[in-house]
């Protein structure tokens, strides 16, 4: 239990919130609402999955919001140019890998602290995009863009499935594959990992490329939910993703954390807004409550730790 204290705290906060909603506004638990929530938050979950890798390595990436915007516009422009959707997807992911690789070089090769390197990337990408598009939307997309041309039900299914597949593959990767274990090793102690024969720089570089690829993929599936691509997508996405990961118990210093925790964190943050609306809470309080819930989740972890210590003490 001690190991997963934070994950449990996040899950407990989520359960408490859902229980409150179940008592006061049971209509929240409808299949339609579940479907919409899953679909709306699938892209954020994909980004949070990538962010878990980055934070586990002891790094951070605050440029994902800007990467998301660049990838969205790239998807729109390429689709409009007449590329078939699979080719668009491939091109967008490559574009994401390229952006991630820039971060990777800055952090792994040149040893620039990740928060600084990605802060620079964040403003550079966002402002370059604004400069290039002047905020214009990509409109008049071909018919096969929205829902990949498959219709709402099938398209939505594919998006949620894609998010879940990526999530499951990531769990496998982190838990069972040497490259994934290396992420933990580097995050726990870069020096020890190096002595054990792991190249920390390669792992760090790879993690940022992976982050870029997942961000681009998230942008792609998000864009495919609509018929137009706005010029300024993903503002604040980085904070959302980081919040989901850290609320879900991943240590910001790296080396400790689970994807299950990230799922709990992402679910908690995804549910707060709609749940408050169902509870009839004035939207003016939403942001304040969101902050309070994050802080409460942190404090509950401490309370859990206390209880545990008391229990240990009593059993001695």
């Amino acid at each position: 239990m001690n190991r997963y204290r934070r994950e449990i705290a996040a899950a407990a906060a989520l359960a408490a919130l859902l229980a409150t909603v179940a008592l006061i506004a049971p209509s929240f638990f409808s299949p339609a609402n579940a479907r919409d929530l899953a679909l709306n938050n699938a892209p954020a979950l994909i980004v949070a999955t990538g962010m878990t890798f980055v934070i586990l390595t002891g790094q951070i990436d605050i440029s994902v919001g800007s990467q998301f915007a660049v990838a969205s516009i790239t998807a729109g422009v390429l689709a409009k140019a007449g590329l078939p959707m699979p080719a668009v997807a491939a091109a967008v992911v490559i574009c994401g890998c390229a952006m991630g690789a820039v971060n990777g070089v800055l952090v792994a090769r040149w040893r620039i602290p990740s928060i600084v390197a990605t802060l620079a990337m964040m403003v550079v990408l966002r402002d370059a995009l604004r400069w290039a598009t002047e905020g214009a939307w990509v409109q008049n997309l071909p018919r096969n863009f929205q829902w990949f041309g498959l219709g709402q039900t099938a398209g939505g299914f594919i998006i949620v499935l894609a998010a879940l597949l990526i999530f499951a593959a990531s769990i496998f990767l982190l838990g069972r594959v040497a490259a994934g274990r290396a992420v933990y090793a580097v995050g726990a102690s870069s020096e020890a990992a190096r002595l054990a024969g792991i190249d920390p720089r390669r792992v760090t570089f790879g993690v940022f490329v992976w982050m870029g690829a997942l961000t681009a993929l998230a942008a792609f599936v998000n864009a495919a939910r609509f018929a137009e691509v706005p010029g300024n997508a993903g503002v604040g996405l980085e904070l959302k993703a980081i919040a989901a990961v850290v609320v879900g118990g991943t240590a910001i210093t790296g080396g400790r954390g689970t994807l299950a925790g990230t799922l709990a964190g992402a679910a908690l943050l995804a549910v707060i807004g709609p749940a408050l609306a169902f509870l009839g809470v004035n939207p003016y309080w939403e942001k304040a409550l969101q902050g309070a819930i994050i802080l409460a989740a942190l404090l509950s972890e401490i309370a859990l730790g206390r209880m545990q210590r008391h229990a240990q003490f009593a059993s001695r």
């Binding site: 506004a25 209509s27 339609a32 609402n33 919409d36 709306n40 951070i60 040149w110 040893r111 620039i112 602290p113 928060i115 600084v116 390197a117 802060l119 620079a120 964040m122 403003v123 550079v124 402002d127 370059a128 604004r130 400069w131 002047e134 905020g135 214009a136 409109q139 939910r225 609509f226 018929a227 137009e228 706005p230 010029g231 300024n232 997508a233 980081i242 919040a243 850290v246 609320v247 240590a251 910001i252 807004g273 709609p274 609306a277 009839g280 004035n282 939207p283 003016y284 309080w285 939403e286 942001k287 304040a288 409550l289 902050g291 309070a292 994050i294 802080l295 942190l298 404090l299 401490i302």
Partner: protein, 706 residues
């Protein structure tokens, strides 16, 4: 100078190199060079950049950011971070406004209590971080939402405190002895205070020790928790002080004060050589970082460059300064090792080994700097070309007659540059500028920061344009600076949204808030057949215009349509995807809703897509948006109709009015204004009317392309 163990072993006689290193322990000289280059480039390309007045103006712009950067420096040196500073500014601003206006406290008392509130907010962070040892990044991420959310909740987003007494506003807007902005004194005092605290006291030494190793600091007998608590509480108080300066500067207190300031402040600190890992950094470095950023923004504006360049160059600078630091640090360690004092800097040596900057990397670094320089050079070349073009028509005449003036410069500002609504206005403005042969400067905020509009106008005043036309975001805030522009003999227009009446010559009025609100409500009533429930999707909860419209919508609703009910007002932050999700939720929470009224341009297609995907054909969408964005939904029938005016014509008319104002054809008492393809436009008092709001629907939407 203080974090190098060598300082203690120094012999009385220092070599010049050592003195140099003592002054710039983290290669802050690189920033001096950057600032010198900036001053040089902008001195050539920017108009009136190299004037004392502009120097003080730059100082004024940097005060709020500077206070945050100062407070963040020790926090980052201690290995922490405070993301909540910008949000604390918003909360402090509304607390200050409420204390002064609602609690009727005198200004000094309100200031003291606001600073106390800042301390309390900082204490919340401090308890979580110092007492419970939670990671600062997560804690302040939580309080980042909490503080801003409280500010919005306390004011319902609507409250905008203004009308502060002149003696208070003088602090933010006046000039001591005719030149010196008073708030610069506060910043100066804060710099000295923080420099003394960090570099001349044992507390400061303790913070460096904590940054190197919290464990080690504890073993050395440093009260780690208390020292950390101190700097986080100071940060809260500094954010409050920044908020008070901000309120005095803008003349208004609103929940959105300081949006995004935390990242700018962190950028300044890191640019100034403070290591994000802690243990290294100086106050002078942070001040230099601040100056580099503020000068860059101001200089780009004065040379008429797009504001987006500031972000791109700042990013490049961040990377470049750190790499320079790496390269020279390695060189220095090598020399130090050769001199046989390597033992003294063992800590650095390890880092140097990690850094491992090679010649090839220095080459790449040079390439980065070169690329950045090329961007500047390239855009300057564009500038020169545009200047040549503008000079060309006059040709040799310039020298012959001094009466022949160069082309008038008309500066026009949208509320937000990236907003599709304003992009369409720009189309019309540029069309008119071409027809009239005037130079059009188009610049404005790229983000939600409400102080940006003031900064841009200040820069235009310094630059010396002929006319300024502003779409006003914050009435109380911008009016003071517009009055200043009028005093300098610049023609001032407002368009799209008005300032206070005496702050401008004319208002290009496309529709009054009342007209918009009533038209929206009447249209909603028509679609609903005068009965049923509807919901509103607004922009952000603190958006001034939308709140004004909602007020009139409610008034009309109460007066005319007793059987219609407004069940929810939800924010979208002007984001299409957020509007989509909020609409989905509204439709489920209030199944009786038959109409969604979205009153921000990107929110209408978002709401329409949500209704379309819900498959509920009985629900309709209306609101305020642009034709191109909504066309598919209007044709498919999800959007029954929406309200707007011809935004292209609005931009067009504004430039014609500005030209007439400069030529003194449009003056008080004028009845008509010739406006090119629009023909004669009626002038009523001090307003130029574009016409009534227009209702777009299936039958007419294809006639419009914007």
């Amino acid at each position: 100078m203080h974090n190098s163990p060598r300082a203690e072993t120094d012999t009385p006689k220092k070599s010049p190199r050592e003195i140099f290193n003592a002054w710039f322990p983290n290669n802050e000289w690189a920033l001096l060079a950057v600032i010198a280059v900036e001053v040089f480039v902008f001195g050539i390309s920017g108009e009136n950049f190299l004037t004392a007045a502009n120097g003080f103006e730059i100082g004024r712009l940097g005060v709020e950011l500077g206070l945050l950067a100062l407070a963040l420096t020790p926090i980052i040196i201690s290995g922490g971070i405070d993301l909540s500073a910008g949000s604390m500014m918003g909360l402090s601003a509304v607390v200050f406004g409420a204390l002064w206006r609602d609690a009727q406290l005198p200004i000094p008392a309100a200031i003291v209590l606001t600073l106390a509130a800042g301390l309390a907010g900082g204490a919340l962070n401090a308890v979580m971080i110092a007492r419970f040892q939670l990671p600062p990044l997560i804690v302040t991420l939580g309080s980042f939402s909490l503080f801003r959310g409280l500010a919005e909740a306390l004011t319902r987003g609507i409250e905008n405190y203004s009308g502060f007494p002149p003696s208070f506003l003088f602090f933010g807007q006046g000039y001591l002895g005719g030149v010196l902005p008073p708030q610069l004194l506060l910043l100066g005092a804060a710099i000295i205070g923080y420099a003394l605290l960090l570099h001349r006291t044992s507390i400061g030494r303790a913070i460096y020790a904590i940054g190197f190793s919290p464990e080690g600091a504890r073993f050395a007998g440093i009260p780690v928790a208390r020292r950390l608590a101190l700097i986080y509480m100071l940060s809260g108080a500094a954010a409050s002080a920044a908020a008070i300066v901000y309120v005095a500067h803008l003349g208004q207190a609103k929940a959105d004060a300081g949006t995004g300031f935390e990242l700018m402040a962190i950028t300044a600190v890191v640019l100034g050589g403070t290591s994000i890992f802690g243990g290294r950094g100086t106050i002078p470095g942070s001040v230099l970082g601040l100056i580099a950023i503020v000068v860059l923004q101001n200089g780009l504006r004065l040379s008429g460059q797009p504001a987006e360049l500031a972000g791109i160059l700042t990013g490049a600078l961040l990377v470049a300064t750190i790499l320079i630091d790496r390269a020279t640090r390695r060189a220095r360690i090598r020399t130090a090792a050769a001199a046989g004092i390597a033992n003294g800097i063992a800590g650095d040596a390890e880092e140097a080994e990690e850094a491992g900057v090679k010649n090839s990397q220095v080459a790449v670094l040079s390439a980065v700097i070169l690329a950045a320089a090329l961007i500047v050079a390239g855009s300057n070349w564009l500038l020169v070309r545009s200047l040549r073009e503008s000079a060309a028509p006059q040709g040799g005449k310039r020298g012959e007659s001094s009466v022949e003036k160069s082309r008038p410069v008309i500066a026009m500002m949208p509320k937000a540059k990236g907003d599709p609504y304003f992009i369409s206005c720009r189309q019309g403005a540029e069309e008119a500028a071409r027809e009239l042969g005037v130079d059009l400067l188009w610049d404005g905020p790229t983000d939600l920061d409400p102080a940006k509009q003031n900064e841009v106008v200040e820069a235009w005043i310094t630059r010396g344009v002929d006319a300024i036309a502003v779409s006003v975001e914050n009435q109380a805030g911008i009016s003071t600076v517009l009055r200043k522009a009028r005093e300098r003999g610049i023609g001032v227009l407002t368009w799209d949204a008005d300032s206070e009446r005496d702050a401008r010559d004319f208002f290009i009025n496309q529709a009054t808030p009342q007209g918009i609100g009533y038209t929206l409500m009447d249209e909603a009533a028509r679609i609903l057949d005068r009965r049923g429930e509807f919901a509103i999707i607004t922009a952000s909860l603190s958006a001034a215009n939308q709140n004004e419209w909602i007020r009139h919508i409610r008034a009309r609703l109460a007066a005319e349509y007793p059987e219609i009910k407004l069940v929810a007002v939800q924010p979208s932050d002007g984001d299409r995807d957020r509007a989509f999700a909020e609409t989905q939720t509204v439709l489920k929470v209030h199944p009786g809703v038959r109409l969604v009224m979205a009153i921000a341009a990107p929110a209408v297609p978002g709401a329409a897509e949500a209704v379309k995907q819900s498959g509920r054909s009985e629900v309709k969408v209306t609101g305020l948006s642009l034709p191109n964005m909504c066309k598919p939904y209007v044709h498919s029938g999800v959007i029954e109709s929406f309200v707007l005016w011809n935004t292209v014509d609005l931009g067009y008319l504004t430039v014609y009015a500005a030209r007439a104002l400069v030529a003194k054809e449009l003056k008080p008492g004028a009845r008509r204004l010739g406006a090119g393809r629009l023909g004669e436009i009626a002038v009523e008092g001090d307003e130029v009317r574009l016409g009534a709001p227009f209702i777009f629907n299936k039958s007419n939407i294809d006639r419009f392309d914007f």
